[in-house]
């Protein structure tokens, strides 16, 4: 199976999910909280003509205020911590947080040091972890699908409570 075929199958499933829950698209704000830029290479790759994630309803937005989800990379450095929290607070509820890459998941090779914060979940609730150094584009898509399922559960819980 070629990469294109893989994407077609995964992408259609993703598209269905997004349509059911968000109506149109899942809006993502990516935050680099101190990554080595490897993860950014792969997030950018999702926009190239071979993956072209916009066709499945995934949209990178310029402001956290327009976002359904924060896609956070990097171990969360001391110098990015404040900016990340501000971005989190600026994202409207209900929101999703995805920790992308080994560093965002648990600090990765950078671990816990004077400058590095050993992962996103030390600073905010994380809904889905996408491991990999960096995760391949297919892995990111898969992670997004898991995250969307989780949001569906969240919404259902809210409905039951109401």
């Amino acid at each position: 199976m070629t990469v294109e075929d893989e994407m077609e199958i995964m992408g259609q499933r993703l598209h269905e999910k997004i349509k059911n829950i968000f109506g149109r698209s899942l809006s993502i704000r990516e935050v680099d909280a101190g990554s080595c830029n490897g993860c950014e290479v792969e997030v950018n790759a999702l926009s190239n003509p071979i993956y072209d994630m916009e066709r499945f309803g995934i949209h990178i937005v310029a402001s956290p205020r327009h976002a359904d989800m924060l896609l956070v990379t990097g171990p969360v450095t001391r110098n990015m911590e404040l900016a990340l929290l501000k971005t989190y607070n600026a994202t409207p509820d209900p929101k999703l947080v995805a920790a992308m890459g080994s560093c965002a998941c648990n600090g990765g090779i950078f671990g816990e040091t004077y400058a590095s914060g050993s992962g996103v979940d030390r600073f905010m609730p994380v809904d889905v972890y996408i491991p990999g150094c960096p995760p391949r584009p297919q892995a990111i898509i898969f992670g997004l699908m898991v995250a969307i399922d989780k949001l569906e559960q969240k919404i259902r819980k809210l409905e039951v409570k109401a």
Partner: protein
């Protein structure tokens, strides 16, 4: 060789040299602290040696002092390293920035990480630490525990102010609109034209140099790959070469060729990404899609060859971990189609008047500015600096291969695009040559125990010269200084944007292809 340089220094400053040691192509001259400025100035201005790096080491345990090292490049593949000692009770040294402008950030880095003060520095603000970092804590001192979590203190960062009627400021970042790394840009503008830009970086400072000191040598290769993710191969090879040099390991020829192929594959996908970025930023999505497609195909090739789209996990001390010789045919087939596609892409870009209109004369960096700041890599070459580590200080299989180093004098976005395009063609021919000479043989030598010592390792990454200075003691890394090319190139953006309009900033930024992570570490 460095002999004539050393001879000239001896003649002029003979009585000032306290100690002289030579190892491989590196000559270490220890001099008195107060003489550093004169000798460095003489090396730089009279002998025309470039200042490649400058860093400090904490040798209080062994020699009872700190040391500062100034690394100069000499013609004929040699390096001169000037060393000065600094006593702990007088942690000061005279700034070199007035003589050599490129010393600017190195000195501020030393001030933040070691607490050694460059006296007379024109901009003594903090560089790496933010205003909330407590005074008196210096992470690279040996008595600083890497796991310390200093409290945040109150403080203020003072930006340069431009004042006047109709002048206002535009703050941008650290979280940007696109998918890029974090940094803060503060523009002072009057209408559209930019009067001043101040950059503030180090948001992604992860303590990499300190982290090196806690790692085994083998594991440190993986850390080197993660200093600047898209330049993984160049960083890993530079680190490995430093260790191999000090241990006297001559890696097998087959490993040299494989490394060369990896380094050129890295250059190709990076340059394709930069050209795609420039096309995106001038609102030419067709060209961008074309370039991004080619980049993706190259990254898929990377994965097929190495198991990693970013060419990670291939390099090790003593050679490479995996053979790619059985995939020769796949590589040359991919290169054939890349060459055809890339030619078409460049024809499209060159023939589009709307592209030319946006990139010609935009973001100009004069040769004078580029030389002063020691701008490196394709950006430097586009501003008339004819330097390339692959040719000037050859490593891996480069001495056996033929290639041209494209240079342009214009210094604008157009020149930088063209230099990169020419380099893509050169990389294709380099890989073809390397493939044709890939003889049978082993790919890795056993490194054995690494002896004590220090050495420089260097590569020409897609962004330019990448330096590692590694000091090994008792089989552990005592100090590893990393100098990413972006550390040299970042300041150039403050000059490149002057008199340009704000909407052209993204194109200029992209054309400089700066790594935040490699700079901040």
């Amino acid at each position: 060789m460095s002999e004539e340089y050393i001879e000239a220094i001896r003649k002029k400053f003979g009585n000032l040299i306290l100690d002289e040691t030579v190892s491989n192509n590196e000559t270490y001259l220890t001099i008195k602290k107060d003489d550093a400025v004169h000798i460095c100035d003489y090396l730089y201005h009279t002998l025309r040696s470039a200042l490649l790096s400058m860093f400090a080491t904490d040798e209080r345990a062994r020699d009872g002092c700190f040391k500062i090292h100034y690394v100069f490049s000499c013609k004929g593949d040699a390096f001169i390293i000037i060393q000065i000692k600094i006593e702990e009770n007088l942690p000061k040294f005279t700034t070199l920035t007035h003589k050599i402008p490129s010393a600017n950030w190195y000195e501020r880095e030393i001030q933040d990480m070691f607490g050694l003060v460059p006296v007379g520095h024109p901009d003594p603000r903090r560089l790496i630490h933010f205003e909330d970092w407590p005074a008196g804590l210096y992470p690279l001192r040996k008595d600083f525990d890497i796991r310390t979590k200093p409290e945040r203190v109150k403080g203020e960062y003072i930006y340069r102010r431009v004042e006047g009627e109709g002048v206002y400021e535009i703050p941008v970042g650290p979280v940007h609109a696109g998918v890029i790394e974090p940094g803060h840009f503060r523009f002072s503008v009057a209408g559209e034209p930019i009067l001043n830009l101040e950059i503030r970086l180090f948001y992604t400072h992860k303590g990499v140099e300190k982290l090196f000191e806690t790692m085994s040598i083998d594991k440190a290769v993986f850390l080197a790959e993660r200093v600047s993710g898209d330049n993984s191969a160049a960083h890993a090879v530079a680190f490995c070469q430093a260790v191999e040099k000090l241990a006297g390991i001559d890696i097998p020829p087959r490993a040299k060729y494989i490394r060369t192929i990896l380094l050129e594959l890295e250059r190709i996908y990076n340059h394709l990404g930069d050209i795609a970025g420039i096309a995106t930023d001038v609102a030419y999505p067709f060209g961008a899609a074309h370039a991004n497609r080619s980049k993706e195909l190259m990254m898929q090739l990377n994965e097929k060859l190495t198991g990693s789209r970013l060419l990670r996990g291939m390099n090790a001390i003593g050679g490479v971990r995996r053979d790619i010789g059985d995939k020769k045919e796949m590589i040359s087939k991919e290169l054939d189609s890349l060459q055809k596609d890339f030619r078409e892409l460049m024809e499209l870009l060159v023939s589009s008047p709307s592209v030319a209109d946006r990139i010609e004369t935009t973001g100009r960096i004069s040769t004078e500015i580029a030389k002063g700041l020691h701008v490196v890599g394709p950006v430097g070459r586009a501003s008339g600096i004819d330097s390339d580590i692959r040719r000037d200080h050859p490593y891996a299989a480069y001495p056996k291969l033929e290639f041209k180093v494209p240079v342009s004098k214009e210094g604008d976005v157009n020149a930088r695009t063209n230099v990169r395009a020419d380099e893509v063609y050169e990389s294709i021919t380099l890989i073809r040559q390397a493939l044709s000479r890939l003889h049978e043989g082993e790919i890795r030598k056993d490194s054995g125990k690494i002896p004590d010592g220090c050495a420089l390792g260097y590569t020409e990454s897609p962004r330019g010269e990448t330096f590692y200075w590694v000091h090994i003691s008792n089989g552990r890394i005592e100090r590893c200084k990393v100098r990413d090319p972006s550390f040299c190139n970042w300041l150039a953006i403050e000059y490149a944007v002057l008199d340009n309009i704000v909407p052209d900033f993204p194109i200029i930024n992209k054309s400089l292809s700066l790594s935040y992570s490699g700079n901040d570490m």
